[in-house]
């Protein structure tokens, strides 16, 4: 069964890169959003298994969108994918409930690791 995946990023290139680094052996039903607000609305609409969220975006940034998503579902699996690699930014989003943080540009191995870690959580009933 295909897993529902939501990619929220204002950069079409960042979304393309992320899609290309997903594990090829897995089946995904991918939705995309170009800012935090659109991402939040898509989240409500499709209830994705995993959400990849950029931080620096127009309209609504990723941190605010993450907070709103966690209010809706405290077990939501939101993986922050960001160029903002300040340790304090990473601490901040983890404390807000992010499942993990991936530094840009994402690498195949890192994405595979984090997706499978999310699968484990889903399969253990943690979502």
């Amino acid at each position: 069964m295909a897993r529902k995946l939501l990619i929220v990023d204002d950069s079409p290139i960042a979304r393309k890169i992320l899609k290309k680094t997903l594990p090829k052996e897995e089946d995904f039903e991918i939705s995309e959003a170009i800012n935090g607000l659109e991402g939040l609305n898509k989240f409500k609409e499709i209830s994705p298994d995993i959400t990849f969220m950029d931080l620096t975006m127009p309209v609504m940034d990723g941190q605010e969108a993450l907070e709103e998503i966690i209010k809706i579902d405290k077990n939501a699996l939101v993986i922050v994918s960001t160029a903002d690699v300040q340790p304090k930014s990473i601490e901040r989003v983890m404390s807000l409930g992010a499942f993990d943080v991936v530094k840009k540009p994402p690498k195949h191995e890192r994405i595979k690791e984090v997706v499978f870690k999310a699968y484990e959580k889903i399969n253990s009933g943690g979502q």
Partner: protein, 214 residues
């Protein structure tokens, strides 16, 4: 007035450049945040390409109080070579002293304060330019060396700046961003001025970067 000449780059090439610059500046900000031990809120950077001969007009149009701006200039050499100009608006130097070295900032005055401001701008500029160009060229599989940075005042060097550093046929990659330092916003402008050969290399390098994801 439309001063950009993005026509040399396709929409996709500009998107790739935007993403690569975004990553590079994220790294630069992280390095700066580590130095100041402060959290920096990043805004979405705006990237444009401007013909170098139109850069003075672009600066006048874009930067408020541009004549009071301070510019940190640093050259870099590699397959990608050029001059980085980091423009700090009026008052940014004093703001940075307050954050980096508040004790010296309080005790210094007059010329001493001007020297401290210049040193601070050079230090911050060196970190931001070095980390940004370093990450950019790392992503694009190049290696560059740098000249020592220098700080110049826009008003006193306007003519010589553009005569000595910028050739009319060069292209400036302009990047505008806002740093939020715990409630204090500082507008930052970075211009990378490159010769046609470097711009040609950049286009090829951006495609090579994306090939990994095709």
């Amino acid at each position: 007035m439309n001063m950009s000449h993005n026509g040399d780059f396709s929409e996709e090439e500009l998107d790739i450049l935007q993403e690569v610059m975004n990553i590079a500046f994220g790294q630069a900000t992280s390095d700066l945040a580590e130095l100041i031990d402060i959290y920096v809120v990043l805004s979405v950077p705006e990237i444009k390409l401007v013909q170098a001969e139109k850069l003075p007009g672009y600066i006048e149009e874009t930067i408020k109080d541009y004549k009071a701006s301070s510019i940190v200039s640093q050259s870099y050499w590699g397959k990608f070579k050029g001059n980085a100009l980091l423009v700090f608006p009026l008052g940014a130097g004093r703001e940075l002293i307050t954050m980096l070295d508040p004790e010296s900032g309080e005790s210094a005055s007059g010329d001493q304060l001007n020297v401290l401001e210049k040193e601070t701008l050079i230090e911050v500029g060196n970190i931001l330019i070095g980390a940004c160009i370093g990450k950019l060229t790392e992503l694009l599989k190049d290696h560059v060396t740098y000249s020592p940075p220098s700080v110049i005042n826009y008003n006193t060097s306007e003519s010589s700046l553009f005569e000595n550093i910028i050739e009319p046929n060069h292209t400036a990659i302009t990047m505008k961003t806002v740093f939020g330092f715990e409630g204090r916003d500082i507008n930052g402008y970075l211009f990378l001025v490159n010769d046609p050969e470097s711009i040609k290399w950049l286009k090829m390098a951006l495609h090579t970067f994306m090939e990994e994801y095709e």
